[in-house]
């Protein structure tokens, strides 16, 4: 007799997809925040990233990475327990996921977000 395999619900997969999107969005949002409002944002970003070895050389990028990491991991854990007992149709969600990631890849292209929020002079 073939042993029974535990059938897991596809909600778990949806939790993975949404948390990836949220992590990426948080990363990009924190970057755009540091462009639109550097005085406040850079202070916060430097502080969040300051536990990382070498943060003094990495600068605000360390904080942006931390924000992305925290959003990804925390939202994954929360969504996993919310969605793990729900069976969903993956086909539709997969299309939404692909569209969202492609949109993010386009928005992350600097001439696009700078066209919306302006070019600030970057001092060497």
């Amino acid at each position: 007799m073939r042993y029974m395999i535990k059938q897991r619900k596809t909600g778990e997969i949806l939790a993975v997809l949404i948390s990836i999107f949220l992590g990426f969005s948080a990363l990009i949002t924190s970057h755009i925040w540091s462009i639109t409002n550097p005085a406040t944002a850079n202070y916060v970003l430097l502080k969040i990233g300051s536990w990382l070895p070498g943060w003094w050389g990495i600068g605000t990028y360390a904080g942006k990475e931390m924000i992305g990491l925290i959003f990804w991991i925390v939202s994954w854990i929360v969504l996993h327990f919310i969605l793990k007992n729900i069976q969903i149709s993956l086909k539709k969600w997969l299309a939404v996921f692909m569209f969202s990631i492609f949109t993010l890849l386009i928005i992350t292209w600097p001439p696009i977000y700078h066209a919306i929020w302006g070019w600030l002079p970057t001092k060497p």
Binding site: E12, L17, I20, G57, I58, L94
Partner: protein, 189 residues
């Protein structure tokens, strides 16, 4: 008639030579006299190995979608490897970024000579090159949780999710790799 050399042997030879020569590219950077020379060699070798391993990984999507037995196990192993290499490349990248941003470093040079290289290529690459890690870890988690289910069912929906996650991962890896190569060709750290 049986061919003298099998197609598999030819493919392995080609891949081996390509891999060897690609890895030579960052290693040859040792003739540079930069203070961050060894760090940039580590990052270059790490990124090259990641892209090479991810190309092999991407090819396992085809048997996965066809439902060939044993693919989940093989894909899980190579995905572990790619994820570790990606993480190592991100760590060396952050480390090398200190040298990139240092006074009189590559960033200053770009902003004086070719601002768009820093303001567009680097600003894009530094974020997109972080994308592969969550995509790869997410795919590995799905394979871990649903692997047995996938092998026993004829439904390929979950395999399609894996295929899309890994393809996106590979695209982001290639973006980071090519932009990195383009930049180091103009000015190394």
């Amino acid at each position: 008639m049986k061919p003298i050399i099998s197609a598999r042997d030819l493919a392995v030879t080609q891949a081996g030579f390509a891999a060897l020569l690609f890895i030579l590219m960052p290693i040859l950077h040792w003739v540079d006299d930069s203070q961050y020379k060894w760090l940039s060699i580590f990052h270059g070798v790490g990124a090259t190995l990641t892209v090479l391993a991810s190309c092999y990984m991407l090819h396992l999507i085809y048997p996965l979608l066809r439902g060939k037995a044993g693919t989940v196990k093989r894909l899980k192993f190579i995905l572990w490897l790619v994820n570790i290499l990606t993480l190592a490349s991100i760590i060396t990248a952050n480390w090398l970024y200190i040298g990139y941003r240092a006074p009189d470093g590559a960033r200053q040079w770009f902003i004086y000579h070719h601002p768009s290289i820093h303001l567009i290529l680097m600003e894009y690459k530094e974020f997109v090159a972080l994308f592969p890690l969550p995509l790869g870890i997410g795919a590995l988690w799905i394979l871990h949780r649903f692997g047995k289910q996938m092998e026993q069912s004829t439904n390929t929906t979950i395999s399609s999710v894996i295929a899309i996650l890994l393809t996106l991962m590979w695209v982001c890896l290639i973006i980071g790799f090519v932009f990195g190569l383009a930049m180091v060709k103009i000015k190394g750290v």
